[in-house]
Symmetry: C2
Subunit: 680 residues, 2 copies
């Protein structure tokens, strides 16, 4: 079952990992060495993929959840013929290299998801597995097993300690994801030392409790046949995800093997010499891959190319028999949107009844969900509050649950915000899917570790976040976001949208769906808002625009979401006093900042002071506003109208503040930036 | 074992809960009704506390982790004689009431921790239990069982789905916290519907895997004796935390009992009439508590007052026998710091060798840990990186682990950032303890749900966050914080400190420890920094100050942390060209904003443009700076010196940007806030 080439490949990975990390003078040699046997068996026996086309839809997915062990993954990609050269390996962890310190899916071909923050990869894999069963249930037909891939994960104990993986494991068990197979590298070592310092639970028993199939292998350093057989058995279990706990020795072969010393620092040169000798390698050779190993890599490529060619043939045949479905596969996996889908977005007039923006979001979903079958969404157990479930939605559930099928598109994530966010990254990574998920805006803080990876990885994930301010009311400050908008506005490559009314909600979805390479957070209200004169779907795409203009404005009132209509009402009060105010809507800072300076100056010209109003922290508004009306403390529990009064979010107070701003700037020509009309 | 008063009290809670939520027209009636039996048995048979002194150190702690059920807790506090009147109950969820929509420990007497965000209370309870065993091991002596309290939790399935509780449960099992008893209200209903939609794991088996003692009770609606006996059994298990899964009917007695309809909305008036009739109450009476129930409450008070009086006597006797320890208990539980502790803070001169601020933090801990025995800290498995372990530290572990004892003060939190943060809230809540915990600054995002509750609850928790920028280097953008400072600066009642050198690190700890009623995040570098001329421990307390001044400054360079020395070097380059620059250090925005306008204007006067430099998102700097040098994207993997060049954090680029700012403001007198010298 195993042969000399297996041993040779494994030892090549081990010695190369030692060289790669040593050359970088930074990194983690121990886990790549310890995981080499399981990784090799996985790739040589089980994984079908085509290095010449790393995006082939039906490839098996591999996730290295313990991303710090990425020397392993880079070495495998190199040996297996992916677009990663020996020079790239030599450039490990160097500036602008294709081999960064942790795997980044947008940087390195063949990497599915960005990992390293522990537990994320595991939870991404649950999303990847969900995507596969969904595509299979949606597209496979008798004789056409187009979507059959597995998702394989290697993870360490760190990943399994993290809450995000616990949530994801429970979800995967519930969903009976038989296509998910996790190899748990149990090396008993963490950064702090032996796992007995902090991690003494019975992991496999825990996974049994989640409804997983579990196996244990006592010698992951040498028992290649055992690894092979365990994965074989796991593949045969089709109604449960599988975890195989594999006992290994971290840094196996090093004089410090089995200790935390080999975890996060390069091995010493003399140690590397000894390791190479131990494994029958020439200690004078560095970055050495034997020809036999490269030959094995070529065979992997050939097998993968053949598999893809057969798959493409099958798809063509499928297209002739199932014309529409075949076209859908091609469209969705090339990230094309259906023609004219945006015509389905609802548009509103000021005479339409006031309505909560979360309800307007539901309206959008009701209009576009059938037009965009790649939209797959749900909520972290707040469906009735987030209003994320569209009328025709069907449940995404295992057939045997009796509650739905995998072809359903409404996901019950449970009370698991972090796993939802991370699983959405996996769903987006799979291809052909636009995932969205809902919770209260405040609880995006539970999933922020995953949200920032949506942004870093350029995944189009849509976060539908309702109850977006103190307007949430009675639930109180534990549930009222304050710092949240600042946090998301400061995050690169993510669009934080806070639409003010119906047209802007449609504009927010248009933005989120059109932006293929970045996630969006759409912040939505619990309370009703009127539809505003001058609001626009298209202008929302510019991030900011003049909602209402006047000649010779003395002040600009700007805001977002539920506070924009307060600004409009304040302008009316000011008008009664003969004071002229322009209104600027700013639904998305990032999109506005991307506009030309000329456009931005046309919105906020020299010489007119700006007052912002937003029922969230004022932090960050100084970018545009000379003075800001916002939250300087946590909110409180009470009916939202009372809270809006308590914290000054009324037309009257806004008008009053506007007059202060105008007065102030009559006498302050070049203000210090700390000297403001009022405390903010 | 049970008597008519038990039934009467339980039904009083149920009917009162219906009234309270109905009157508020908002809230959650179902869980209070379903949990009434277990809560009543807990308080009437097991909990010893003194409503007249809710802060008595040895009281049993009760945490309602499913905080949305807080009508239950408020009703109990009222009946049991805490400072909560019937008027307070009538004001449930109203603005400025003492009965907010979710429990807030700083608002309502008798509430230990702020709960509602699911899973937090559970994890707080682990911290409370850690605190008790620590105080017991530190202070108890033969014949003096001063610290003997238990921590009791009621939680729902939502809490147990959250990752934070999973992490905390694993930690509690590892630490063998026999003083922790959790009652799991298993009512099969979530907001979305039946738990079978998303939560089908075997919870008790999972807890067994964590090393917990588990029990199941089939009828939590009626089997009062069963509840009693199960808690008795749990108390007898002293080497494991306990969980008792209690099957209940949500909203029991309502026509919609057992469904999600009674979860989050008031019951209908006719339903409430029927419920009152069912439970033998007069349907015409609202907010009714029978005299017998108030009498039972009085007995609870008397029992608690007696217990505290006995405890106080015991403490006085202890003080005469163990004078120093007794004085320590009194000092620590009155939140007094030892005299002159701050004299131990290290101070530095510019001639001292450059060193990383994380190392300077270790220096502080080495100097103060023995002087401040209430400091109890650890790391989420990054001890060697965070440098959180002081020289004389002993391990906080169960005796039976062979690794330490509960009197140890160094906590191995494992790879569990969220549980660490939430447990620290529990440790702070217990009293007599100042908790600190370390991870990389980037991974505070994993624990943000708990961090914001440290702030809301006014808990002095110290977050020691290292590797605080792209200066982390090779680990790459998955580990490099960008948005993090903005997020924390926007969070009310939390001090985000980013010290620049040795004196400022000492100043940061001085700030964090002196601020009794707010948490601090101390951001620390991986890379070395020089000790700066003009830096000051005391000035750090002002949040911002002039580090180096010049006559007739043409520009102000301001920054924090590792970038401040770059500003200093840039000023030297500018000086060579005859350009005069003032340097302002801004280690803490919030503290600076609290200074007088006069002081702030003395630092940032009118007429001098300000350029900020910080290797984090520029978002928020517009508050002080006319232009900002910072991160506009994620970072990348590489040696930090190269990254600093790549992103422009060099004296040369800073000087160049400073000249652009000066030039720009020669011709722009009253700038629009969007028109800046360069893109930021």
């Amino acid at each position: 079952m195993t042969s000399p080439i297996d041993i040779l490949t494994i030892n090549t990975i081990r010695t190369l990992a030692a060289d790669v990390v040593r050359k970088a003078n930074s990194g983690h040699p121990g886990a790549p060495m310890g995981c080499a046997p399981m990784a090799h068996i996985l790739f040589s026996r089980f994984i079908t993929a085509n290095p010449a086309n790393p995006k082939w839809p039906n490839r098996d997915r591999f996730v290295l959840s313990n991303g710090h062990a990425c020397a392993l993954q880079y070495i495998l990609l190199h040996i297996l013929g992916y677009d990663l050269t020996m020079d790239d390996l030599i450039q490990f962890r160097q500036t602008d290299s294709r081999t960064p310190g942790h795997p980044e899916s947008h940087i390195t071909s063949g990497i599915e998801v960005s990992t390293g923050p522990l537990g994320q990869g595991f939870a991404n894999a649950v999303g990847l597995a969900m995507a596969q069963v969904h595509c299979a249930a949606t597209f496979n037909k008798p004789g056409y097993d187009l979507f059959t891939n597995h998702t394989y994960v290697i993870c360490g104990d760190g990943c399994l300690q993290e809450g995000v993986s616990c949530e994801a494991a429970s979800l995967a068990g519930h969903l009976k994801l038989g296509n998910l197979i996790v190899l748990y590298d149990d090396n008993y070592v963490t950064i702090d030392g032996h796992t007995n310092l902090s991690f003494t639970e019975d992991v496999l028993k825990r996974f049994e409790a989640y409804g997983w199939h579990t196996q244990y292998l006592a010698d992951g350093d040498h028992d290649l046949a055992g690894i092979h057989e365990a994965i074989e058995r796991a593949k045969k279990v089709t109604d449960k995800p599988s975890i195989i706990k594999i006992k290994t020795t971290i840094g196996v072969g090093s004089k410090n093997q089995g200790t935390e010393k080999v975890h996060g620092s390069p091995l010493q040169p003399d140690d590397i010499v000894a390791i190479k000798k131990l494994y029958g390698f020439d200690p004078e050779k560095f970055f050495h891959v034997p020809d036999e190993v490269y030959n094995y890599g070529k065979q992997f490529c050939e097998k993968g190319a053949k598999a893809e060619a057969e798959w493409n043939q099958l798809l063509e045949k499928y297209c002739s028999e199932y014309h529409d479905l075949g076209a859908e596969i091609k469209r969705r996996f090339s990230s094309k949107l259906p023609d004219n889908w945006e015509n389905h977005l609802p548009r509103y007039n000021p005479s339409d009844s006031p309505v909560a923006t979360r309800k307007l979001s539901e309206n959008v979903l009701n209009k576009i969900a059938d037009v965009l079958p790649e939209l797959i969404g749900g909520s972290a157990d707040l469906t009735g509050s987030n209003l994320t479930r569209w009328k025709t939605a069907e449940e995404f559930q295992a057939d045997s649950s009796g509650l739905g099928t995998y072809s359903g598109r409404y996901v019950r994530y449970g009370v698991r915000e972090h796993a939802m966010s991370a699983a959405m990254n996996g769903l987006a990574s799979y291809g052909g899917i636009i995932p969205f998920g809902g919770t209260f805006l405040n609880f995006i803080s539970y999933g922020l570790g995953a949200v920032r990876l949506s942004a870093l990885s350029s995944f189009r994930v849509i976060y539908v976040m309702t109850h977006d301010s103190i307007g949430l009311g009675e639930d109180g400050p534990t549930h009222q976001p304050i710092e949240t908008a600042a946090s998301l506005r400061a995050l690169p490559n993510l669009l934080f949208l806070r639409p003010a009314d119906g047209n802007e909600v449609s504009g927010a979805y248009l933005t989120a769906i059109k932006n293929h390479e970045r996630p969006s957070v759409i912040a939505l209200s619990r309370q009703n808002v009127p539809h505003l004169e001058g609001s626009s779907v298209e202008n929302t795409l510019r991030g900011g625009y003049i909602l209402k203009d006047v000649d010779c404005a003395q002040i600009i009132l700007t805001g977002t979401g539920t506070e924009l209509s307060i600004a409009v009402d304040a302008a009316k009060l000011l008008e009664n006093e003969g004071i002229k105010a322009r209104i600027v809507s700013l639904p998305c800072f990032d999109l506005f900042d991307e506009q030309s300076l000329e456009y931005r100056l046309s919105v906020f010209p020299d010489g007119i002071p700006v007052l912002s109003i937003e029922a969230l922290s004022t932090f960050g508004w100084s970018k545009y506003a000379h003075a800001s009306l916002g939250m300087k403390s946590f909110g409180s529990s009470g009916p939202y109208k009372e809270l809006y009064k308590k914290y000054g979010f009324t037309p009257e107070n806004t008008a009053d503040k506007a007059k202060q701003v105008i007065e102030f700037y009559k006498v302050h020509q070049v203000p210090s930036l700390v000297n403001r009309p009022f405390k903010q």
